[in-house]
Symmetry: C2
Subunit: 459 residues, 2 copies
């Protein structure tokens, strides 16, 4: 049954959206587009909407000139489209029975359809000093603008958490010329999504850029008197002019919990394929929901900005009477760190081991252009597949150009149960400036099959 099957009341449909991040913006635009006659109202706790927080590390690193570049639309743009945005307006409660939200200022606003897009919160590390002034949690653009001014005077930085954002931040700060330390309790960076053999090149490149990596290092305290001046770790103290925390996040589900919406095992809001919550007129999207993984159907939580935006569009479309489904995810991911791109989709070796998922695995290395064309780069590929069906379970890649597009491809390959045999026989473009005679994905898949053949022959 489509979302559109739910009967809307007579008269102008009132659609309320709480949250102005990627999912809120996606929902607002899609709702307005699906039903231009609807009354679309957004509430955001912040001064701005429609900017790209993902660009922040690159402004710090001076790859992007200005924070102004990160704004997608002006406030006037939404006014012109008849969308009302209440800025700096915190929604404090949702009444599911009365179908209304209440703001911190005590105002109530009725809705026919509600879309919750309240995003994530950083979890302060549970160590002494975690409320010192100056600790920077990258999220809000205005705070990042202030932080960027501080960077002009700073010489040393500590980044807590070799997460994707932490890794991008460390790279950006080092590019900016700061002596930068990246602290993480795991033995390698990006450990939640990538395997050590894949990030090895990235670690080397970050170090060349001026990032001092501190793997296997526990944060024990933030140091300082009033303002943070450094950290104490299991491996010693590091003083720093700035300390950035990019470690744990949690979905900001307070409103949803208080309202009584169903919360899942991950802590995210439970939604159906139409991104409808346990209340039939309430949708949710972005970092507050959990979504089934394409493989094994396990709910997962806290995906990427493109997921948030796409979920917002699905929720907004459905809230406005449309009918779109959101697919289970295989989560293609990617980032640039140092001089390399790194990315993948589905399960890595480390994660598959942790979950007890059986797999066969292969690695292969190719190049991004013809070997005789200037500027070619290595592309290392690692593929995991089901031992019986050989359907792709996961992929990780590091190296030169095309990592993003390959990750997208392999994300779809996981969804469609494409096999290693398929990938070993894939056709590929050979054009000297943009592609080599052999595609690295195919090389890896062929290696995996050859290895399986040897194992079979030897058994």
């Amino acid at each position: 049954m489509g979302a559109g099957a739910a009967t809307l009341q007579e008269g102008t449909v009132r659609i309320a959206i709480v949250g102005g991040g990627a999912s809120g913006i996606g929902a607002t635009g899609a709702a307005e587009q699906t039903n231009p006659d609807a009354e679309v109202v957004m509430f955001t706790a912040f001064e701005d909407v429609a900017y790209s927080p993902c660009g922040i590390p690159y402004v710090h690193g001076r790859d992007i000139d200005s924070f102004d570049d990160l704004f997608l639309q002006t406030k006037q743009f939404y006014l012109d489209r008849g969308i009302t945005i209440h800025y700096e307006t915190v929604v404090t409660s949702v009444d599911l029975n009365r179908q209304e939200v209440t703001t911190q200022k005590g105002q109530t606003h009725g809705y026919d359809r509600l879309v919750l897009c309240t995003g994530f919160d950083w979890v302060p590390p549970d160590v002494p000093g975690n409320h010192l002034d100056g600790l920077h949690y990258p999220k809000n653009i205005r705070k990042s603008m202030e932080f960027d001014k501080i960077l002009d005077e700073a010489k040393t930085a500590v980044v807590i958490g070799a997460t994707p954002l932490g890794t991008e931040m460390a790279g950006g700060l080092a590019k900016r010329g700061l002596q930068t330390h990246l602290i993480d309790p795991h033995s390698w960076i990006l450990s939640a999504i990538a395997d050590p053999d894949i990030v090895e090149m990235v670690e080397e490149s970050l170090e060349e850029l001026g990032v001092t990596l501190h793997p296997g290092t526990q944060l024990e305290a933030f140091l300082g008197d009033g303002s943070v001046t450094g950290v104490r770790t299991s491996e010693g103290e590091i003083s720093a002019d700035v300390v950035v925390v990019c470690d744990k996040r949690r979905p900001n589900t307070q409103l949803a919990r208080d309202a009584g919406l169903a919360i899942g095992s991950t802590g995210g809001i439970v939604v159906d394929a139409h991104l409808r919550t346990s209340s039939p007129v309430v949708y949710a999207a972005g970092d507050i929901i959990e979504i089934p993984h394409e493989l094994h159907n396990i709910p997962i939580q806290g995906l990427t900005g493109s997921h948030s935006y796409a979920e917002g569009k699905v929720a907004g479309t459905n809230a406005a009477g449309g009918d779109r489904r959101y697919q289970p995810v295989s989560v293609p991911w990617g980032l640039v760190a140092g001089k390399w791109s790194v990315g993948g989709a589905g399960f890595g070796e480390n994660l598959a081991d942790a979950l007890g998922i059986p797999y066969v695995m292969g690695v292969g290395q190719g190049i991004s252009r013809a070997r005789y064309y200037p500027g070619f780069k290595p592309v290392k590929v690692k593929l995991l597949a089901d031992p019986d069906t050989h359907a792709l379970l996961g992929a990780q890649m590091v190296g030169g150009e095309g990592i993003k597009e390959r990750a997208d491809f392999l994300g779809m390959a996981i969804r469609k149960r494409i096999t290693i045999e398929d990938l070993a026989t894939m056709e590929n473009v050979y054009a000297p400036p943009i592609g080599a005679v052999m595609e690295p994905i195919a090389i890896c898949a062929q290696n995996l099959l050859a290895d399986l053949g040897r194992r079979t022959a030897g058994s």
Copy 2:
């Protein structure tokens, strides 16, 4: 039944390979790897093997420093691996009954397995003057080296045929500083593989680079007295210091025809999925064979260098007792022309119309990086799908980075009958330096579905 099921004779297996291009090299390497004890002998009419002709336009254009860079391996490399190569040795006949080949010098050589990799020949345009000295047909590397020296003195060039190679050559010669004319009877460049709306940007860019395009122009004669000094066309005469012909090719199947091997409707050698010809111990690969298209199973002929190499590997593996199949093709393709990449897979609008294949179609435009990240480029996508199932029939793209990888992806999507709905809901990497929040392929697929929805609603 696998190729390996054919019984090989006692003793050392003799594998003969005729032709030293991409398919011959692929076959030779794979045969040696599959059966290191085999006696592998290659015959080539030329002075060299193991170089990449695809790089030639880029040496002329000075993107690649030297022809030396195009050589993949030294002659010693093959000697060291125990592979005998007879250079400058034309094979003049194959005796299928006696299982032997005869060379121009009258020597015979027996084989247990034969792989024919004799490639393509240029077809001289059927106009007066087509045997004038100096007409250059790019293929052999030594002739290209000589031609490159002539370019040092040349100021004007005419390229006949806006084929992929002709387009690359025209771009390379213009980059080299020559006033370059590209002559083609069709209304747009790359007409055999791409639609006019896709190549429009490419045409503009070639003109900016200094290529004068002559679409809709018939070649009427090569002009000159002894040596070529220009061309006469339906639109007038053009004098030129050099004239390059990149128009029609034909498979070089003379040996195969004379031997009595089955030839298909395209003029290519008929092979099965193991690339075996109508003779059970003779394989063929590369530009001389025909291969079924993934869609509709129509045999097609004259694919790309990566197809030739991959086919060679399959044929060589099977000739040496292995068992590999070559899949039907959807032919991902791509090239760089001017400042853009252009590529695709499967059927374009023009080709689908010509073949009478029904389709629905959509176009969309996205960008290659975040819109706020320096250097982002447009990526225009056009998708064709089956009107009933919405399975992808073809894709064409033009613009920035990632065209090659997207073409590879969409080639596989055609093979796996992936639908427009799948592509509209694909996940994608969003990372500012390498990918935008919305993937251009998904934008195009969403546009197509929206358009279908409107058509359905209006019907």
